[in-house]
Protein backbone atom coordinates (compact mmCIF):
# COMPACT_ATOMS: atom_id res chain seq x y z
CA UNK A 1 0.00 0.00 0.00
CA UNK A 2 2.75 2.42 1.00
CA UNK A 3 5.05 1.29 -1.82
CA UNK A 4 2.33 1.56 -4.42
CA UNK A 5 1.20 4.91 -3.04
CA UNK A 6 4.71 6.37 -3.08
CA UNK A 7 5.52 5.15 -6.60
CA UNK A 8 2.22 6.33 -8.06
CA UNK A 9 2.45 9.73 -6.40
CA UNK A 10 6.17 10.07 -7.18
CA UNK A 11 5.32 9.77 -10.86
CA UNK A 12 2.73 12.55 -10.56
CA UNK A 13 4.99 14.76 -8.44
CA UNK A 14 7.90 14.08 -10.80
CA UNK A 15 5.79 15.05 -13.80
CA UNK A 16 4.83 18.33 -12.19
CA UNK A 17 8.29 19.21 -10.87
CA UNK A 18 9.97 18.11 -14.11
CA UNK A 19 7.61 20.22 -16.19
CA UNK A 20 8.17 23.31 -14.05
CA UNK A 21 11.94 22.74 -14.08
CA UNK A 22 11.92 22.39 -17.87
CA UNK A 23 10.10 25.70 -18.31
CA UNK A 24 12.52 27.53 -16.00
CA UNK A 25 15.50 25.69 -17.47
CA UNK A 26 14.66 26.51 -21.07
CA UNK A 27 14.16 30.18 -20.21
CA UNK A 28 17.29 30.73 -18.13
CA UNK A 29 19.72 27.81 -17.88
CA UNK A 30 19.71 26.23 -21.33
CA UNK A 31 20.75 29.42 -23.21
CA UNK A 32 23.88 29.59 -21.04
CA UNK A 33 24.69 25.94 -21.79
CA UNK A 34 24.25 26.52 -25.53
CA UNK A 35 26.41 29.66 -25.39
CA UNK A 36 29.20 27.79 -23.59
CA UNK A 37 29.04 24.94 -26.12
CA UNK A 38 29.68 27.44 -28.93
CA UNK A 39 33.13 28.12 -27.44
CA UNK A 40 34.00 24.45 -27.52
CA UNK A 41 34.56 24.63 -31.28
CA UNK A 42 37.76 26.64 -30.78
CA UNK A 43 39.03 26.89 -34.35
CA UNK A 44 35.74 27.93 -35.91
CA UNK A 45 34.48 30.71 -33.65
CA UNK A 46 32.12 32.19 -36.24
CA UNK A 47 30.21 28.94 -36.73
CA UNK A 48 27.87 27.48 -34.15
CA UNK A 49 27.48 23.84 -35.06
CA UNK A 50 23.97 22.40 -35.39
CA UNK A 51 24.90 19.28 -33.51
CA UNK A 52 26.67 20.13 -30.31
CA UNK A 53 28.76 16.98 -30.26
CA UNK A 54 30.75 17.69 -33.41
CA UNK A 55 34.32 18.67 -32.54
CA UNK A 56 36.58 21.45 -33.78
CA UNK A 57 40.31 20.78 -33.60
CA UNK A 58 40.83 22.09 -30.07
CA UNK A 59 38.14 20.68 -27.83
CA UNK A 60 38.13 22.30 -24.42
CA UNK A 61 37.22 19.84 -21.70
CA UNK A 62 34.13 18.30 -23.35
CA UNK A 63 34.92 14.85 -24.68
CA UNK A 64 32.48 12.62 -26.48
CA UNK A 65 32.57 9.58 -28.69
CA UNK A 66 31.81 11.12 -32.09
CA UNK A 67 29.69 8.13 -33.14
CA UNK A 68 27.41 8.23 -30.07
CA UNK A 69 23.78 9.14 -30.55
CA UNK A 70 22.68 12.51 -29.23
CA UNK A 71 19.43 14.44 -29.66
CA UNK A 72 19.40 17.10 -32.35
CA UNK A 73 19.47 20.68 -31.14
CA UNK A 74 16.07 22.30 -30.94
CA UNK A 75 12.81 20.48 -30.19
CA UNK A 76 14.34 17.00 -29.84
CA UNK A 77 16.90 18.20 -27.32
CA UNK A 78 14.20 20.05 -25.36
CA UNK A 79 11.98 16.97 -25.27
CA UNK A 80 14.79 14.78 -23.98
CA UNK A 81 15.53 17.42 -21.35
CA UNK A 82 11.86 17.33 -20.35
CA UNK A 83 12.01 13.53 -20.09
CA UNK A 84 15.21 13.62 -18.02
CA UNK A 85 13.88 16.38 -15.78
CA UNK A 86 10.70 14.39 -15.14
CA UNK A 87 12.69 11.23 -14.37
CA UNK A 88 14.89 13.22 -11.99
CA UNK A 89 11.72 14.56 -10.36
CA UNK A 90 10.33 11.03 -10.04
CA UNK A 91 13.56 9.74 -8.52
CA UNK A 92 13.98 12.58 -6.04
CA UNK A 93 10.33 12.53 -5.01
CA UNK A 94 10.32 8.76 -4.45
CA UNK A 95 13.25 9.07 -2.05
CA UNK A 96 11.82 12.21 -0.45
CA UNK A 97 8.40 10.62 0.03
CA UNK A 98 9.89 7.41 1.42
CA UNK A 99 11.60 9.43 4.15
CA UNK A 100 8.55 11.64 4.70
CA UNK A 101 6.14 8.70 5.07
CA UNK A 102 8.31 6.99 7.64
CA UNK A 103 8.81 10.12 9.75
CA UNK A 104 5.15 11.03 9.40
CA UNK A 105 3.85 7.55 10.26
CA UNK A 106 6.07 7.48 13.34
CA UNK A 107 4.61 10.83 14.42
CA UNK A 108 8.03 12.49 14.26
CA UNK A 109 7.12 14.83 11.39
CA UNK A 110 3.81 16.60 10.93
CA UNK A 111 3.37 17.46 7.27
CA UNK A 112 1.51 20.31 5.63
CA UNK A 113 2.17 22.48 2.59
CA UNK A 114 4.37 24.95 4.51
CA UNK A 115 6.41 22.14 6.04
CA UNK A 116 6.65 20.68 2.54
CA UNK A 117 8.19 23.94 1.33
CA UNK A 118 10.71 23.73 4.18
CA UNK A 119 11.51 20.15 3.16
CA UNK A 120 11.99 21.51 -0.35
CA UNK A 121 14.47 24.10 0.90
CA UNK A 122 16.23 21.27 2.74
CA UNK A 123 16.47 19.29 -0.48
CA UNK A 124 17.80 22.36 -2.27
CA UNK A 125 20.47 22.79 0.41
CA UNK A 126 21.47 19.11 0.54
CA UNK A 127 21.38 18.39 -3.18
CA UNK A 128 22.57 21.68 -4.66
CA UNK A 129 23.96 24.36 -2.33
CA UNK A 130 26.18 22.33 -0.01
CA UNK A 131 27.66 20.02 -2.68
CA UNK A 132 28.02 23.14 -4.87
CA UNK A 133 30.38 24.66 -2.31
CA UNK A 134 32.84 21.90 -3.17
CA UNK A 135 31.95 21.24 -6.79
CA UNK A 136 30.26 24.30 -8.32
CA UNK A 137 27.79 23.62 -11.14
CA UNK A 138 29.70 23.43 -14.43
CA UNK A 139 28.99 24.69 -17.90
CA UNK A 140 30.28 22.71 -20.89
CA UNK A 141 33.94 23.41 -21.48
CA UNK A 142 34.98 23.50 -17.83
CA UNK A 143 38.11 21.58 -16.91
CA UNK A 144 37.45 19.24 -14.03
CA UNK A 145 38.87 16.27 -12.17
CA UNK A 146 38.08 12.72 -13.25
CA UNK A 147 34.33 12.16 -13.47
CA UNK A 148 34.34 9.12 -11.17
CA UNK A 149 36.07 11.06 -8.39
CA UNK A 150 33.62 13.94 -8.70
CA UNK A 151 30.62 11.63 -8.73
CA UNK A 152 31.86 9.82 -5.63
CA UNK A 153 32.45 13.09 -3.77
CA UNK A 154 29.09 14.46 -4.88
CA UNK A 155 27.31 11.35 -3.60
CA UNK A 156 29.14 11.59 -0.28
CA UNK A 157 28.36 15.30 0.04
CA UNK A 158 24.65 14.90 -0.76
CA UNK A 159 24.14 11.91 1.53
CA UNK A 160 26.04 13.56 4.42
CA UNK A 161 24.17 16.84 3.95
CA UNK A 162 20.77 15.15 3.79
CA UNK A 163 21.51 13.04 6.87
CA UNK A 164 22.84 16.07 8.74
CA UNK A 165 19.63 18.03 8.07
CA UNK A 166 17.41 15.08 9.06
CA UNK A 167 19.33 14.48 12.26
CA UNK A 168 19.27 18.19 13.07
CA UNK A 169 15.52 18.51 12.65
CA UNK A 170 14.23 15.09 13.62
CA UNK A 171 16.95 13.25 15.49
CA UNK A 172 16.97 12.77 19.26
CA UNK A 173 18.71 15.63 21.06
CA UNK A 174 22.00 13.86 21.71
CA UNK A 175 22.38 12.95 18.03
CA UNK A 176 22.07 16.54 16.80
CA UNK A 177 25.74 17.12 17.58
CA UNK A 178 26.60 14.70 14.80
CA UNK A 179 25.09 17.08 12.23
CA UNK A 180 28.07 19.50 11.98
CA UNK A 181 30.45 16.53 11.68
CA UNK A 182 28.37 15.05 8.86
CA UNK A 183 28.32 18.40 7.06
CA UNK A 184 32.07 18.86 7.44
CA UNK A 185 33.15 15.35 6.47
CA UNK A 186 33.10 15.72 2.65
CA UNK A 187 34.95 19.04 2.93
CA UNK A 188 37.57 17.60 5.24
CA UNK A 189 38.20 14.91 2.63
CA UNK A 190 38.20 17.64 -0.02
CA UNK A 191 36.38 17.89 -3.34
CA UNK A 192 38.42 16.70 -6.33
CA UNK A 193 39.57 19.46 -8.66
CA UNK A 194 41.58 19.52 -11.86
CA UNK A 195 45.12 20.91 -11.72
CA UNK A 196 44.31 23.31 -14.57
CA UNK A 197 42.21 26.52 -14.34
CA UNK A 198 38.49 26.01 -14.98
CA UNK A 199 38.68 27.41 -18.52
CA UNK A 200 41.72 27.39 -20.77
CA UNK A 201 40.54 28.82 -24.08
CA UNK A 202 43.37 30.28 -26.21
CA UNK A 203 41.28 33.35 -27.15
CA UNK A 204 41.19 35.82 -24.19
CA UNK A 205 37.82 37.24 -25.29
CA UNK A 206 36.32 33.75 -25.28
CA UNK A 207 37.96 33.04 -21.92
CA UNK A 208 36.36 36.14 -20.41
CA UNK A 209 33.02 35.15 -21.91
CA UNK A 210 33.25 31.63 -20.46
CA UNK A 211 34.04 32.94 -16.98
CA UNK A 212 31.13 35.33 -17.22
CA UNK A 213 28.83 32.52 -18.43
CA UNK A 214 29.98 30.40 -15.51
CA UNK A 215 28.91 33.08 -13.03
CA UNK A 216 25.57 33.54 -14.74
CA UNK A 217 25.11 29.78 -14.67
CA UNK A 218 25.61 29.63 -10.90
CA UNK A 219 22.71 32.02 -10.34
CA UNK A 220 20.47 30.61 -13.09
CA UNK A 221 20.90 26.99 -12.04
CA UNK A 222 20.52 28.03 -8.39
CA UNK A 223 17.18 29.68 -9.09
CA UNK A 224 16.01 26.75 -11.23
CA UNK A 225 16.95 24.22 -8.56
CA UNK A 226 15.23 26.24 -5.82
CA UNK A 227 11.98 26.31 -7.81
CA UNK A 228 12.33 22.58 -8.61
CA UNK A 229 12.84 21.63 -4.96
CA UNK A 230 10.03 23.88 -3.68
CA UNK A 231 7.61 22.18 -6.08
CA UNK A 232 8.97 18.75 -5.07
CA UNK A 233 8.69 19.48 -1.36
CA UNK A 234 5.18 20.94 -1.39
CA UNK A 235 3.74 18.34 -3.79
CA UNK A 236 5.43 15.45 -1.97
CA UNK A 237 4.13 16.64 1.42
CA UNK A 238 0.60 16.86 0.02
CA UNK A 239 0.86 13.36 -1.45
CA UNK A 240 2.39 11.83 1.69
CA UNK A 241 -0.40 13.22 3.89
CA UNK A 242 -2.87 11.36 1.69
CA UNK A 243 -0.80 8.16 1.68
CA UNK A 244 -0.31 8.12 5.45
CA UNK A 245 -3.94 8.86 6.26
CA UNK A 246 -5.14 6.26 3.74
CA UNK A 247 -2.76 3.70 5.21
CA UNK A 248 -3.88 4.53 8.77
CA UNK A 249 -7.56 4.14 7.92
CA UNK A 250 -6.88 0.79 6.24
CA UNK A 251 -5.06 -0.36 9.40
CA UNK A 252 -7.98 0.78 11.56
CA UNK A 253 -10.49 -1.10 9.40
CA UNK A 254 -8.35 -4.24 9.57
CA UNK A 255 -8.45 -4.15 13.37
CA UNK A 256 -12.19 -3.51 13.54
Amino acid sequence: MIFRGIIFNAILVGLLAGLVLTIVQQLSVAPIIFAAEAYEVADEPAVVHEHEHEHGEAVIGHHHDEEAWAPEDGTERTLYSLLSNVLAGVGFSAVLMAVMTQLSAQGVAQLNLLKGAIWGVGGFLALFVIPGLGLPPEIPGAEAAAIENRQTWWLLATVCSAMALLVLFYGPFVSKFIAPLLLALPFILGAPHADAPMFSHPDPVALAALNSLHEEFLWASGAANLVFWLVLGVAAAWAVKRIVSASASVALEARA
Binding site: V29, A88, G91, P137, P140, Q151
Partner: protein, 60 residues
Protein backbone atom coordinates in the same frame (compact mmCIF):
# COMPACT_ATOMS: atom_id res chain seq x y z
CA UNK B 1 -5.60 -10.70 26.71
CA UNK B 2 -4.49 -12.94 23.85
CA UNK B 3 -6.27 -10.69 21.34
CA UNK B 4 -4.24 -7.74 22.75
CA UNK B 5 -1.01 -9.67 22.13
CA UNK B 6 -2.16 -10.52 18.63
CA UNK B 7 -2.99 -6.84 18.03
CA UNK B 8 0.47 -5.76 19.23
CA UNK B 9 2.15 -8.34 17.00
CA UNK B 10 0.13 -7.32 13.95
CA UNK B 11 0.81 -3.62 14.67
CA UNK B 12 4.52 -4.41 14.80
CA UNK B 13 4.40 -6.32 11.54
CA UNK B 14 2.43 -3.52 9.86
CA UNK B 15 5.14 -1.10 11.01
CA UNK B 16 8.00 -3.21 9.70
CA UNK B 17 6.13 -3.86 6.45
CA UNK B 18 5.60 -0.12 6.00
CA UNK B 19 9.32 0.48 6.65
CA UNK B 20 10.26 -2.18 4.08
CA UNK B 21 7.88 -0.67 1.53
CA UNK B 22 9.25 2.84 2.08
CA UNK B 23 12.77 1.44 1.74
CA UNK B 24 11.78 -0.26 -1.52
CA UNK B 25 10.36 3.01 -2.85
CA UNK B 26 13.58 4.81 -1.91
CA UNK B 27 15.62 2.20 -3.79
CA UNK B 28 13.38 2.68 -6.82
CA UNK B 29 14.02 6.43 -6.63
CA UNK B 30 17.77 5.91 -6.32
CA UNK B 31 17.82 3.62 -9.37
CA UNK B 32 15.96 6.22 -11.44
CA UNK B 33 18.36 8.93 -10.26
CA UNK B 34 21.32 6.73 -11.17
CA UNK B 35 19.97 6.31 -14.70
CA UNK B 36 19.39 10.06 -15.13
CA UNK B 37 22.45 11.41 -13.39
CA UNK B 38 25.17 8.78 -13.45
CA UNK B 39 24.68 6.24 -16.23
CA UNK B 40 28.00 6.27 -18.10
CA UNK B 41 26.71 5.27 -21.54
CA UNK B 42 27.16 8.08 -24.07
CA UNK B 43 23.56 7.91 -25.26
CA UNK B 44 22.24 8.24 -21.70
CA UNK B 45 24.64 11.11 -21.03
CA UNK B 46 23.69 12.90 -24.25
CA UNK B 47 19.94 12.50 -23.66
CA UNK B 48 20.16 13.74 -20.07
CA UNK B 49 22.98 16.24 -20.75
CA UNK B 50 21.15 19.49 -19.99
CA UNK B 51 19.45 17.93 -16.95
CA UNK B 52 22.80 16.84 -15.54
CA UNK B 53 24.29 20.30 -15.98
CA UNK B 54 21.18 22.06 -14.64
CA UNK B 55 20.94 19.88 -11.52
CA UNK B 56 24.72 20.09 -10.98
CA UNK B 57 25.30 16.37 -11.34
CA UNK B 58 28.99 15.99 -12.17
CA UNK B 59 29.06 15.74 -15.96
CA UNK B 60 31.76 15.01 -18.54
Amino acid sequence: MSSHVVEQQSAASVKSSSLAQAFGAAIFGILVLFAVGFAPMDAAHNAAHDTRHSLAFPCH
